[in-house]
């Protein structure tokens, strides 16, 4: 299809692969949505039906979705592909390279790197999904209400969001998490939600502000619909697309953030098996045994890449301007 000129007040659209760009881009999704539809002969498809049709034919989406499916499965049942014990240490084999039955070699305590890399998926996927769900729910609820009601609530929310934007993420994480003694994933999830929701709230707010000006919302209001009904039945379904796109990309960056915090010693703590911790331990021995670092690092990078690619593909499908 030939490119057509699209009048556009926002600076970016299209193909940023990152949360920061996605923020700017997602805001433009809403504007271009009207005036699309199927070809004239069949009945007009919904945005979601249209997007799904596009996604099914997009190789980037298929590949990243397959990788993510695989990661989720091994996060739940790591035994499926690794029958060893991630904690079993054999000091005699410390830092040895790959051996039969141990394709990735051994780490500095003689634990099997392959088994640990497989088991490490659980922590990353859990943190990523829980933190994204939390940030998306909190952010879209607060941002949506701010966009719908406006006024002082909106102003207050913007200032609070500014405060959270002003705190450097890694430093805040180090300070906040260094006083936590819990060895579960929940403090890390909580911290990421705390710093992640303002980004989602901004997107949700902008999206709701655009959606509430639509004629059908005015019509429903004129018919006497309550605020709750307006928000849930008329606005939310039409404002949720940009939030989903940003949340998908954010999932990848959250996994990366968790690993970085764990690397700095503030994120997950042993005995949790985590890529970040293993990479941090291995970094001391990188000159003698680079394999200890490269395998978990590769797994981590592929995971992040898969989620960012998925977000990219979903945005392309939901953004009609690229067609």
């Amino acid at each position: 299809m030939p490119e057509r000129y699209v009048p556009n007040e926002a600076v970016t659209h299209g193909d940023g692969g990152t949360a920061a760009l996605a923020m700017a881009e997602a805001e433009t999704l809403e504007g271009g949505r009207n005036g699309r539809g199927g070809s004239p002969r069949d009945k007009p498809r919904s945005l979601w039906g249209d997007a799904w049709r596009d996604l099914r034919r997009n190789p980037v989406f298929l590949v990243s979705a397959l990788i993510i499916l695989f990661l989720v499965v091994i996060a739940i049942w790591p035994q499926l592909i690794a029958d060893g014990n991630p904690y079993r240490a054999d000091l005699a084999k410390a830092q040895e390279g790959s051996a039969p039955g141990h394709p990735f070699g051994f780490d500095t305590q003689g634990r099997d790197v392959y088994t640990r890399t497989v088991y490490g998926a659980r922590a990353s996927i859990t943190v990523g999904i829980c933190a994204t769900a939390g940030a998306a729910l909190l952010g879209s609820a607060l941002g949506g209400l701010a966009g719908f009601f406006g006024g002082w609530w909106d102003a207050l929310l913007s200032r609070v969001a500014d405060i959270f934007f002003g705190i450097p993420v890694l430093l805040g994480g180090l300070v906040f998490l260094s006083v936590v003694t819990s060895k579960t994933v929940w403090p890390v999830v909580g911290f990421i939600v705390l710093l992640g929701w303002p980004q989602i709230a901004r997107i949700a707010r902008g999206s709701v502000v655009t959606a509430k000006q639509n004629d059908y919302v005015q019509a429903a209001r004129a018919l006497g619909a309550s605020s709750g009904r307006l928000l849930l039945r008329h606005i939310a379904p039409n404002a949720v697309a940009p939030v989903i796109v940003v949340a998908t990309i954010a999932l990848g960056t959250y996994i990366s953030l968790e690993a970085t915090l764990s690397y700095l010693g503030a994120g997950l703590k042993p005995p949790t098996v985590s890529w970040g911790i293993d990479i941090s331990t291995a970094s001391t021995y990188i000159r003698n045994a680079p394999h200890m670092l490269l395998y978990p690092a590769g797994a981590l990078s592929i995971t992040v890449l898969a989620f960012i690619m998925l977000g990219d593909a979903v945005r392309d499908a939901l953004d009609p301007k690229l067609r």
């Binding site: 699209v6 993420v169 260094s178 006083v179």
Partner: protein, 307 residues
């Protein structure tokens, strides 16, 4: 313009107070600075109580915060618990981090903008696709992974550069750390330049310039680039603040004694004045960078006017 600046400065005040109070709360209320001074041993209760009184730690938190902020605005950031003034630590740490950030920004601009322009002018070609794939991969690899891998390959295995940085942190030593620090932002800059360029290429003023017979080179450099780089400038401006805060990982990998190093040590040893002082300065840098970017926007794009 003047009124706009004043309004923005006033808006910064609650944000500054909120951010610094949040950090202050985390350090002083969630941690225990006095216990940290004694390391693993439990302090004698009487001594602990005396230190608490001396450092005003027995006061309510908001009073401590007010006292602390009052001192800061008199230029006194307090003493680290080893007796060294925090300002002295800052004097040695900030120049190093500033140099590192500068190197990173220059790399970001040169490589990021060049790649972005090249791919933006050739949308859909092989070069464009490979640049896109490159940015995706770069964004996906966390800084601490790319840092160690590049340090190992270039510094240890092939010996092209020194793997660690000396305390003086000369510019040539900071080249590799600068690349590592810049990588993720570099990918952002590339993508932003590319989309911005591709979008403006369809604008009316470009069509006019082509129609009146200007050579392609002039259309690209004078008309297209100048307008397309505005959002890029904005991004790079806001990035200065986040690079300085994010340098903590890079500085740890390459043993650079900058802001991140001092902060990391401060957090590990629960050296509260160091942590709060450094973060306060970083928050200020971040806020001012954002303000400058907003003002720059009006200078670069005459369509934007601030009343």
């Amino acid at each position: 313009m003047g009124r706009y600046v004043i309004r923005r400065l006033l808006q910064m005040i609650p944000v500054f107070i909120g951010s610094t109070f949040l950090i202050f709360f985390m350090v002083y209320a969630l941690g225990d600075p006095v216990a940290a001074m004694f390391g693993d041993r439990a302090p004698d209760p009487a001594t602990a109580a005396r230190i608490r009184e001396e450092l005003l730690l027995d006061q309510p938190l908001w009073k401590q915060y007010l006292h602390y902020m009052g001192q800061i605005f008199r230029g006194d950031f307090g003493t680290a618990f080893n007796g060294q003034p925090v300002t002295e630590l800052m004097g040695t740490a900030f120049p190093v981090t500033l140099r590192l950030t500068l190197v990173a920004i220059v790399i970001e601009i040169i490589v990021g903008v060049t790649l972005g322009v090249l791919s933006g002018l050739r949308r859909g070609r092989a070069l464009d696709t490979s640049v896109l794939v490159f940015t995706l991969v770069v964004v996906s690899i966390p800084t601490f992974v790319s840092g160690y891998v590049l340090q190992f390959l270039l510094g240890v295995k092939w010996g092209w550069v020194k793997p660690t940085v000396s305390t003086d942190a000369y510019l040539d030593e900071l080249l590799l750390p600068g690349v590592v620090l810049a990588l993720v932002s570099l990918a952002y800059v590339t993508r932003l330049t590319r989309t911005s360029l591709a979008e403006n290429a369809r604008a009316d003023y470009v069509r006019t310039a082509v129609a009146k017979g200007l050579p392609r080179r002039r259309v690209v450099t004078r008309h297209l680039l100048r307008n397309s780089l505005i959002p890029v400038v904005t991004f790079i401006g806001t990035d200065i603040g986040s690079l300085m805060g994010g340098a903590i990982v890079t500085e740890r990998i390459f043993n650079i004694h900058g802001v991140g190093f001092q902060l990391y040590q401060g957090i590990l040893r629960q050296n509260s004045p160091t942590v709060v002082g450094f973060v306060t300065v970083l928050v200020l840098v971040f806020l001012f960078a954002n303000l400058v970017v907003d003002l720059l926007y009006a200078v670069l794009d005459p369509r934007i006017r601030y009343a």
